[in-house]
Symmetry: C2
Subunit: 406 residues, 2 copies
């Protein structure tokens, strides 16, 4: 544990009184809550801006956080010639600053961009690409085996991969922009942004309050079948507790930028769209019947003898019953203007967390690339793979046990 | 008045009972409110999603609407060879669909993208570029004289100008994306998107509740000096009541994409940044003293004899006392990833409404281009000018009195 990584805004009294990690987190929460209450005047702002997701914990917070209104992803490459010590130092600084910002506190040299905005449910989750591990002369675990190429991939290598990946989520876009600027400023000389993409979901409250799963730009509910932390097998499927020590409580993140061919999609009737997905558009219920959360009945037949959920329906091919595997998906829609061909440059920033991508995303995508009818309406344009290390205790920093072992 | 422009979802009984424009609007409000209440379960969602800004009125709603969390702008060009009748028909269709969507109702052939999201304060504001008027063989009023080139402009002509400009604002990004898709779908064959940009502000509630002006990505409050509708001269300065009949209650919109050189800006100390702007960063108060809304004292001297608000401070050069003119500014921050040179492609989508850009934006910008120290830290990358016609009555459509006179 290093004194540099201690958040600077905790009162000495608070730190002395806290005898456990949970105690420190509680103190930090109380401090952040007080500061926020004095800045905001209204109940709604308190709800939107003051909601705070603790930074420290067994897992990095972005993995299990509820859907946020904004999700941005930035991939950094370390500057040629940097030392292991410089990268370690950056992780200490980022951890310190992430703790401050997720508590709604300014960082050193703060640019004031988000002054008064509160934590706004900010999460900052950091992953290490295989290229970083090689540069650090660290062992690259088998779970970081490259994602294979798939037949319809149109990957832009300049917007793929990266030494360090950072997922930033919050309910306020300014809070995300401020955090990204702060991280890239402190990285100067050690790492620089390789690529960055911004996505969004429903505004804070809308999705949660209506009790529904977010919709993607195709108008389909997206994420219904996600495994739940209450599932008995959840931890074993999503977290990498059987990997190297620095990954215990960590996970592997597959990032894909998936452009949607919305103009083609729009030419399909609603019925055809529902057949391609395998769910109703309005309620999200499987075509085999029931409500959104009714399990698929993959054998259910229509009166004409055909399968209710067709052989190439997306949900059939992606379902754990077919693929034999589970991933925790997180999606953010993007809309980046229009392409030269007149089509919207829009789709889904797709993130999947799992305990081993070889048996998670890759296995599912191998099925989808072969048999999923939806694949005619989407194009994978960017891909990246990161090891997301364990979460931190309140005095630790991201990747600490990796650096300790180098 | 045309039957095609009647919103299709009003009940016959409601329409018959309504004997005035206000009556119809009230009916529409009640319908939207009921539908929304049945979709949303929670109070917060009702606040964020159900808030509705009436589409019809003397002015198009986006001009005076409060700051929204999301502001997207799309410029369309009409397809070569279209007739005046096709453009008029598009305006009828857009008006009908804008009325539905701003009330949280689906349009014909709706893609379900925003199903259940509510109106979310959606506004849709349409302007006509001088190029459209020429294509319609309509007179081009002097107020549409092109914005002159300024010394530091680096305009991308492919992302400038346009026949039709549409400002979409809402507190939920999905609601904006859905509306843009709906408008571009019905435009097919008549007009196509020329360029589109997306911006954001604080999440719904945060800015309003803290009683503060939005901050831009430089961390400065931005918009403090905006004229207020309660100012006695407001209407004369912002609305074009002395122009052609179709512009009564309308306004002229200048759009500029202004990239911020954030890495250079960050190298300045807070004191230098404040001198460049002429306001404190934390409170937004003028350097001549007081609080955010204290009027500038442009003659105030520091103890050393220098001007408290320096000769080239942004607020001095832009202030009505110096420029002799007033514009109603609306800004949305953008963050579009990173450029090849490693700098963030980020800044401000700047919109200014005024009764005549020759005496509004152009006069101010001529001063700023010469003397504003801030101009070293920004680059104007795109420019467009639109005549924003009168608002609509509940049976009318956008530009109706222009088309009636052709």
């Amino acid at each position: 544990m290093s004194p540099e990584s201690t958040p600077r805004r905790f009162s000495r009294r608070g730190l002395l009184a806290a005898t456990s990690a949970a105690g420190v987190a509680a103190v930090a929460g109380a401090v952040a809550g007080d500061a926020t209450a004095s800045i905001f005047g209204g109940e709604r702002a308190r709800q939107v801006g003051a909601r705070r997701i603790p930074f420290d914990g067994r897992h990095q917070a972005g993995i299990l956080a509820p859907p946020a209104a904004h999700g941005w992803f930035a991939a950094f490459d370390v500057v040629p010639g940097v030392t292991v010590g410089q990268v370690e130092s950056l992780m200490r600084t980022w951890t310190r600053d992430a703790r401050l910002m997720t508590a709604g506190e300014p960082v050193a040299g703060d640019d004031s961009m988000a002054l008064g905005h509160g934590p706004s449910s900010l999460t900052i989750t950091v992953g290490f690409g295989p290229s970083l591990l090689r540069k650090l002369d660290a062992a690259v675990q088998a779970a970081l085996t490259p994602i294979p190429a798939f037949p319809r991939d149109q990957l832009d290598r300049e917007r793929s991969d990266g030494d360090i990946g950072v997922l930033l989520t919050a309910d306020d876009a300014i809070v995300v922009a401020h955090a990204l600027r702060a991280l890239s400023r402190t990285a100067r000389g050690t790492a620089a942004v390789r690529w960055q993409m911004s996505g969004f979901n429903a505004a804070d409250g809308v999705t949660v309050a209506q009790g529904a799963t977010p919709r993607n730009l195709m108008g389909q509910v997206d994420g219904t079948g996600n495994p739940k932390p209450s599932d008995p097998e959840f931890d074993a499927r999503i977290f990498a507790d059987d990997g190297p020590a620095w990954m215990h409580g960590g996970s592997y993140l597959v990032f894909r930028r998936i452009r949607m061919l919305l103009d083609s999609w729009d030419t399909l009737s609603r019925e055809r769209q529902e057949q391609v997905i395998g769910r109703r558009k309005d309620t999200g219920a499987p075509l085999s019947g029931g409500t959104e959360f009714t399990p698929f009945d993959l054998d259910k037949q229509n009166p004409d003898g055909g399968l209710a959920i067709g052989p190439s329906a997306h949900v059939r091919q992606a379902a754990p019953a077919t693929s034999g595997t589970w991933i925790l998906r997180k999606g953010f829609s993007y809309f980046d203007g229009y392409r030269a061909d007149g089509a919207p440059d829009a789709g889904l920033l797709f993130l999947a967390f799992q305990n081993d991508p070889r048996h998670g995303f890759t296995r599912i995508q191998q099925r989808l690339a072969l048999a999923d009818e939806l694949s005619r309406f989407i194009v994978h344009e960017s891909s990246a793979l990161f090891a997301v290390p364990s979460g931190t205790d309140p005095h630790g920093y991201i990747g600490q046990s990796l650096f300790a072992a180098l």
